[in-house]
């Protein structure tokens, strides 16, 4: 139970963090036309397929005592896992939200302006229009984060009662031969993901 709670907490925080910095980036990518926009978009799309072990290793080196931010002593802490997951899912958040915004008729922004909206208010109107896509992006990001094993294992260390989460515990217990426990935990993991997806779906359907 405690493990499930930690899984949700860590991945939830990571998702919030990625939305915090991903949403403004995606809004700019989706609405503004500037030089280098395609390069930037391509970069985020390419990062969708980054091998998590490689990312985990890089983060490990950053967080370790000899690394550039080693003085923060983040390695093997929930914070490290949150940051790791947040970086991992940022490309998902940014790419999905960008395409959600791009799918909205550009006339919506002009429309908002003709009704008296400022530049910022008009951008918010477009964002509101793309809300279903944005919610989908956030759900996908969270699901990816909570399913992550490699990074959390490398920077979290699977310390019982401190950094162990569902995925790391399942891996450990399976190695130890505790198959029943592993199956139970895997079912919990699946439940969390499906309950979230279904409820998001239902809320969206009620709105339209």
């Amino acid at each position: 139970m405690e493990i499930s709670g930690r899984s949700i907490l860590v991945s939830g925080s990571a998702t919030m963090l990625s939305v915090l910095w991903g949403l403004p980036v995606a809004t700019i990518l989706g609405l503004k036309r500037f030089r280098g926009r395609f390069v930037l978009k391509g970069l985020f799309n390419a990062m969708l397929g980054v091998p998590t072990v490689a990312l985990g290793l890089v983060l490990y080196l950053f967080f370790s005592n000899a690394g550039p931010i080693g003085f923060l002593h983040l390695l093997y802490s929930p914070s490290a896992m949150i940051i790791g997951q947040a970086i991992l899912i940022t490309p998902i958040t940014v790419s999905f939200i960008t395409s959600a915004i791009e799918s909205i008729d550009p006339e919506i922004k002009d429309l908002a302006k003709t009704l008296g909206a400022s530049e910022t208010e008009a951008s918010i109107a477009v964002l509101k229009e793309s809300m279903s896509g944005v919610v989908l992006a956030i759900t996908a990001s969270f699901n990816r984060a909570i399913a992550e094993l490699g990074i959390v294992l490398m920077v979290g260390g699977n310390i019982a009662g401190f950094t162990s989460v569902l995925t790391t515990t399942i891996a450990l217990e399976t190695n130890k031969g505790n198959i029943e426990l592993s199956i139970a935990l895997a079912i919990i993991l699946l439940l969390i993901v499906s309950v979230l997806s279904v409820s998001v779906n239902l809320i969206q359907r009620r709105k339209t």
Binding site: E107, A112, K113, T114, G116, S118
Partner: protein, 353 residues
């Protein structure tokens, strides 16, 4: 009369394409002004500049006598509003769509509710507040767009082809609403259209836009009643006939337009000529009538289109003529496709292009 918006030497280019070429125009406060022109002539670009959502490449725009610049564009924009040709709506309820502009302006909830209710009555969509816009018909959606603009009671209302692709019922609701608002609230209306018929019905002054240039400005009468080459080059002019004309002794001319049809015109002209007759200038009768009119043709109705209060008929009399009569006459005469009819029009109704 005071000028509400003035364009001075506006040039707008997109890459190599010049959408507007040295356009200057003054729109007077409280009038309905029409910008007529074919598709791609720059009407939308002109409206977007007047709505302050596009900036001209060069040239100045004055609103209420004040030059509009980057500093005051936001404030001026709040005094104008625009209805787009392609209906753009927020994917939510009718109420939220219409309330959007009022919310931005910080109106109290109660007043927003009242205003939305009133404006829905104006466009004949009473009780539609909670409906989702995506589930409305195209005509209803366009009426929501119009309501959303009208509710702001903006000084300048810009309409981009407000009735394109609409059925006659929705078209007349929109036309009536626009005329009524202009009459009662004195809002200035600038409307772009390629439908000259509509332009002439509800507008007092108009400009003719061709290839990004204003080629004519004047009263609707001047522009549409006295056809020019400019107008003929794009207008959905019906009953245009070409043929060889020969002058008659009486001072009129007879034009042989082929298929056994000869049209008499009051003008003296010989050689190759193009003429047109306005559909509403042709008298339709079931039996030949004796009158002073010089042109009488016998034909059969081949097509009937209902335009609300009027009916347009296509009549094959060797050449095809378009005739417009009122719905009432149409019903009284009990006309049908294949009915035999006579067309009568005066030689002076035949205009040379």
């Amino acid at each position: 009369m005071k000028t509400i918006i003035e364009l001075e030497n506006i040039i707008k280019t997109y890459g190599n394409i010049t959408a507007l070429d040295r356009v200057s125009l003054k729109v007077r406060k409280g009038e309905i002004f029409t910008i007529a022109g074919p598709n791609g002539s720059g009407k939308t670009t002109m409206l977007r500049i007047m709505a302050f959502i596009d900036t001209p490449t060069s040239g100045e725009v004055y609103f209420d006598g004040i030059k509009v610049s980057n500093e005051n564009r936001g404030q001026v924009r709040a005094k104008c509003t625009m209805v787009f040709q392609k209906t753009a709506l927020f994917n939510t309820s009718v109420y939220k769509n219409i309330a959007y502009g009022l919310k931005l302006r910080g109106f109290p909830k109660k007043e927003i509710e009242e205003r939305v209710k009133d404006v829905l009555g104006l466009v004949k969509l009473d009780g539609y507040e909670k409906r989702l816009v995506k589930k409305l018909s195209g005509g209803e959606q366009q009426r929501v767009s119009l309501a959303r603009a009208l509710v702001l009671d903006a000084e300048l209302l810009l309409l981009d082809e407000p009735t394109a692709n609409l059925d006659p019922k929705n078209m007349s609701i929109i036309e009536e609403t626009v005329s009524r608002v202009n009459r009662e609230r004195k809002n200035t209306v600038v409307m772009a259209t390629h439908n000259l018929f509509q332009a002439e019905n509800i507008t007092k002054r108009a400009a003719l836009l061709l290839g990004g240039r204003i080629v004519e400005v004047g009263t609707a009468q001047e522009i549409f009643r006295t056809p020019s080459k400019h107008l003929a080059s794009f207008a959905r002019l019906e009953n245009v006939f070409s043929g060889v004309s020969r002058s008659l002794k009486e001072g009129t001319s007879l034009i042989d337009v082929g298929d056994g049809v000869e049209i008499e015109t009051a003008l003296r002209k010989s050689g190759k000529t193009s003429v047109f007759v306005r559909p509403e200038d042709i008298i339709l009768s079931k039996k030949p009538i004796s009158s002073s009119a010089r042109n009488v043709f016998k034909g059969r109705i081949v097509e009937i289109s209902d335009l609300g209060s009027v009916v347009r008929l296509k009549v094959d009399a060797g050449k095809q003529f378009v005739v417009q009569i009122t719905k009432r006459s149409f019903n009284e005469m009990q006309l049908n496709v294949r009915s035999e009819v006579f067309l009568t029009f005066k030689a002076s109704s035949v205009h040379v292009i």
